[in-house]
């Protein structure tokens, strides 16, 4: 700590603080325009000028000057005020001053400062800027006439998003912020630049002119898309969510969001939301009352042994807990979520290898680590804000990044990052080879060597020596050895991997293989170490923690569909899931759903699956309910409703609670009671209450008991030369199928496509957007081709989010599906 004097007050500040930060910590306000606490100091605007006695009273920028012992700072003197006024007058010289039509009005730093410093006239005169406004993309409007050249957008896009879409172009008075060759903006559309722009130069178009900043209530919530668990502030007016509002103090990510979180909120108030229960009468779904609907549902599910339930991992912890009670109450063990396999990495892999179905690392370990081993570059697409953490770790903290993936991707472009592109489906094999290499290179940690099962494991893993594995996974033994050495000899190292319905290869075997690697290298626990599973949906981890998956003789989600076909299951309760689109093998799912006696579905939207339902119950979105979500790394966060429920919809909690009562059970009627029950029954949640979760949430306690287990590893089937290996995965703009109802994501990524390598494309004479036909054992489909440099030869990538032309027509749930491809 350093002692200094600011405005005659004795204060202390950390050694590496700037004057601005020191003042802020001590509650002294210094005006800023170009500074942001997430970004490196820049010093462009000179709004933060202060006087420092030791510097002969010169005016210096507070945001770039570090504090020193004994410094005497004055933040406001007549001279400083004069200087700041001059800064503002010069900024306003070419500024259009169209506050009445500028969406930033009321939330504009320039407007506020002009008001504070009483700038009502200007001593200078010049023309206003005449830049063309960029309306070329549907999400971000760029009006460079209002830009004050603070450079925040340029810096955030570079430093945190690592996209680098924006830069300063031109010189002197001609300077402006532009994209490559001064063309239209075409980027990730994360909106980070919009969030930090102090003026109305960058604006969110979906929110344009919808409401004034001051007219909205700002309400905290948790993003309902992926498992990162980003905090959100929603701008609410008249019971509608109109936008997301940037709050730089929110969450580990300090207000950063991805395109889905920032621009995908529209599904909440989407007109297609179901408002009334629908019941099938004479073949058609017609509206009915809740009483009738619930009575019917209760009577159908009563026979537990013939009933199964599958839930979306988007329910709250309380809902899962209650749902489990309902199923147990009616005597059914057949309940599951996430297609039954997307959670296996945790529920089976981690559970047997680490002793509990939870990650041993947390998101905030990423920046404290020395080396990150990321499985699949897709981790950036599946969990973009964790991707930002990786960007910062690598670029700012010097953390090494190694990626093993079946394709190249954005993460691999980070400085010093190495991507090991393996053959599709060989990830477990490759990780085994890394383990074997760690043992061969004698880098095994002493704790691992003393594990009882070490000897047996070491013997078994010999079959996967780098030499043997090399040809099967397509990575040379030297590379495997160097990666293994790199990982094991780093002081701190961490493993990250996504799971999800689109990643069937990321199963229990891969999780076990990865756990083995961490155990061998002694990186299971500790700061900057451990395994971090990135689960697909906002509450995937919670679904696992609350035990909403079958144990014992219960059927898992995909077995349920088998059981329907052979008549063992007659009633299916789907909560929020849309298996017709998202589960493997569309034909099989449809066949089973048709065979069902009774299908009850709770859903926000009339989905493809609703067409098979006998009873459709309108559910409420996360913005309309209360509960907790547990995100990647076991972060439990509480959220309250921000708007009233849509139409007559009810929360899944209310629906399940009513069903418990109707089937003769007893149920708590509010989520906080259930949460208390969760806290008292689940070890990881012990001691948590809504009150003490507060705004920051809490982390589940994880007890580890490492064990070395040889994973069952299959060499990927070698494809025939004329065939392609189909891999599915996630897109940056989408999460599950829900984001299709958010306008923002659909603006920039409206439809599915098949991505192939440039070499294959030129060999087959396929050009961008050509329609290509893909045929597998289970079906055939046509998609627009996308030709890219990141996909290796012989591989075709298709995203799994889209209801129109869903990939499950040809994808039957194998990590790699051989497909024939023709024009």
């Amino acid at each position: 700590m350093v002692n200094l004097t600011i405005d005659n007050r004795q204060v202390t500040a950390p050694r590496n603080a700037t004057i601005y930060e020191a003042a802020k910590i001590n509650g002294i306000h210094i005006p800023i325009l170009c500074h942001d606490n997430k970004l490196k100091p820049f010093g462009a605007c000179r709004m933060c000028l202060v006087e420092v006695e030791q510097m002969k009273g010169r005016q210096i920028p507070a945001c770039t000057t570090p504090v020193t012992e004994g410094m005497i700072v004055t933040t406001s003197t007549p001279d400083i005020i004069k200087a700041r006024k001059l800064v503002l007058e010069l900024l306003l010289l070419n500024h259009p001053l169209d506050c009445p039509v500028c969406d930033k009005g009321g939330d504009c730093d320039l407007q506020n400062l002009s008001y504070d410093y009483k700038i009502s006239s200007n001593r200078f005169h010049d023309q206003k800027f005449q830049h063309k406004i960029d309306y070329n993309n549907p999400l971000i409007e760029r009006d460079m006439n209002r830009c004050i050249l603070c450079g925040k957008c340029v810096r955030i896009c570079d430093e945190i998003v690592s996209f680098g879409a924006l830069t300063f172009i031109g010189r002197g008075i001609e300077t402006k912020i532009g994209c490559e060759f001064d063309e239209a903006l075409n980027c990730e559309f994360c909106g980070s630049c919009v969030s930090v722009c102090p003026v109305g130069a960058l604006l969110a178009r979906p929110f344009k002119f919808k409401a004034r900043f001051w007219a909205m209530e700002k309400k905290r919530s948790i993003c309902g898309y992926c498992g990162t668990g980003c905090n959100l502030t929603l701008g609410v007016k008249e019971g509608k969510v109109l936008t997301t509002v940037y709050d730089e103090n929110q969450g580990f990510h300090r207000g950063q969001l991805c395109v889905r979180g920032r621009f995908g909120y529209q599904f909440i108030n989407n007109e297609k939301r179901l408002k009334k229960p629908l019941i099938r009468k004479n073949g058609a779904l017609v509206e009915c009352g809740w009483d009738e609907a619930l009575q019917l549902a209760a009577s159908k599910i009563r026979n537990g042994s013939e009933t199964a339930a599958i839930a979306t991992p988007r329910l709250t912890n309380e809902e899962f807990f209650l749902f489990r009670k309902l199923m147990k109450g009616i005597g059914s063990e057949n309940f599951d979520h996430a297609a039954g396999y997307a959670h296996k990495a945790l529920t089976s892999g981690f559970a047997r290898s680490l002793g509990s179905a939870a990650s041993t690392a947390m998101v905030n370990d990423i920046q404290k680590s020395d080396m990150l081993l990321v499985i699949k570059t897709d981790s950036y697409e599946t969990h973009p804000v964790i991707g930002f953490e990786i960007n910062i770790a690598v670029k700012d903290k010097g953390v090494k990044l190694n990626i093993v993936s079946d394709k190249n991707g954005k993460l691999g472009k980070l400085p010093g990052a190495r991507t090991f592109v393996h053959l599709p489906g060989s990830e477990t094999l490759l990780i085994n080879a890394l383990c074997s290499s760690v043992i061969k290179q004698k880098l095994v940690s002493s704790t691992a060597a003393s594990l009882p099962d070490f000897k047996e494991y070491a013997k078994g893993i010999e079959a996967f020596s780098p030499e043997k594995a090399a040809s099967l996974c397509g990575i040379s033994p030297e590379e495997i050895n160097s990666l293994a050495a790199d990982f094991a000899s780093s002081k701190k190292a961490m493993i990250l991997f996504p799971t999800g319905v689109a990643y069937p290869g990321h199963d229990s075997e891969l999780a076990t293989a990865l756990a083995n690697l961490a155990i061998l290298a002694g990186k299971v626990e500790g700061e900057g170490c451990g395994l971090l599973c990135l689960p697909e949906k906002n509450n995937s981890q919670g679904a696992v923690d609350t035990g909403f998956y079958p144990t014992g003789k219960g059927l898992d989600a995909l077995s349920v569909f088998d059981a329907i076909e052979d008549g063992r299951i007659k009633t299916l309760f789907l909560a929020g899931e849309n298996p017709v689109v998202s589960y493997p093998d569309e034909a099989r799912i449809k066949r089973a759903l048709e065979k069902l006696d009774f299908l009850v579905l709770t859903t926000l939207f009339p989905t493809e699956t609703a067409e098979y339902a006998d009873l459709v119950l309108p559910a409420s979105s996360y913005a309309e309910k209360e509960g907790t979500f547990t995100s990647a790394g076991g972060h439990v966060q509480y959220f309250a409703p921000v708007i009233p429920k849509a139409g007559d919809s009810r929360t899944d909690f209310e629906i399940i609670s009513s069903l418990i009562k109707l089937t003769g059970g007893e149920a708590a009627s509010n989520p906080s009671e259930i949460f208390a029950e969760i806290a008292s029954t689940l070890d990881g949640y012990a001691g948590m209450t809504y009150e003490n979760l507060g705004e920051n949430g809490a982390f589940t306690a994880v007890k580890t008991r490492p064990a070395l287990i040889l994973p069952q590893t299959q060499a990927p089937a070698l494809r025939k030369p004329e065939e392609f290996s189909l891999v599915t995965g996630a897109l940056l703009y989408h999460n599950g199928t829900l984001s299709q109802f958010g306008e923002g994501p659909m603006h920039v990524s409206p439809e599915s496509y098949a991505e192939i390598s440039r070499k294959d494309a030129s060999r087959l004479g396929i050009k961008e957007n050509d329609t290509i036909t893909l045929t597998s054992d289970s079906g055939s489909m046509q998609l627009a081709a996308r030709v890219s440099l990141r996909i290796p030869e012989g591989v075709v990538f298709i995203p799994n989010h889209f209801s129109a032309n869903p990939v499950n027509a040809i994808w039957s749930g194998k990590p790699v599906t051989p497909v024939a491809l023709s024009r």
Partner: protein, 134 residues
């Protein structure tokens, strides 16, 4: 006091008035001349055949009776205009704050004060009605 004095005083005043010019205005045959600063019914100002209002939301914000409804929209040139502009005259207290707040001189108050009507709906002055008052 003489009990008749007050009565006589009163009658004197009555007598005085008998010979004075009457102050009663024969409304509606006789119409008042309102001052230019009179705060009557609102009107939206026009410029180039279009409402000047840019839907800045300042008047609904400042209005103490919360009787102004503005809904902004984007036109073909990406400009902001008021797709909805309504004043609920039942609630308006004729304070004139809206006129004062308007940054583009889009709204004024006219001398019109005959605002009685038969149905509640008729007190809602839509953009079209406010524009008619040239």
């Amino acid at each position: 006091m003489n009990p008749f004095t007050p009565i006589i005083k009163g009658l004197k005043i009555t007598l005085d008035h008998l010979f004075k010019k009457p102050v009663t205005r024969q409304y509606p045959t006789e119409r008042p001349k309102v001052s230019p600063r009179f705060r009557g019914l609102h009107a939206l100002n026009m410029s180039h055949d279009k409402a000047k209002c840019v839907a800045c939301y300042l008047c609904p914000t400042v209005c103490p009776a919360k009787c102004i409804t503005v809904e902004a929209a984007e036109d073909a040139n990406h400009d902001k205009y008021a797709a909805v502009y309504e004043i609920d005259m039942i609630r308006c207290i004729f304070c004139g704050y809206c006129v004062e707040a308007c940054p583009v001189d889009a709204i004024r108050m006219t001398g019109e004060f005959e605002l009685a009507n038969y149905r509640r709906e008729d007190f809602i002055y839509t953009k079209e009605r406010l524009l008619e008052k040239k």
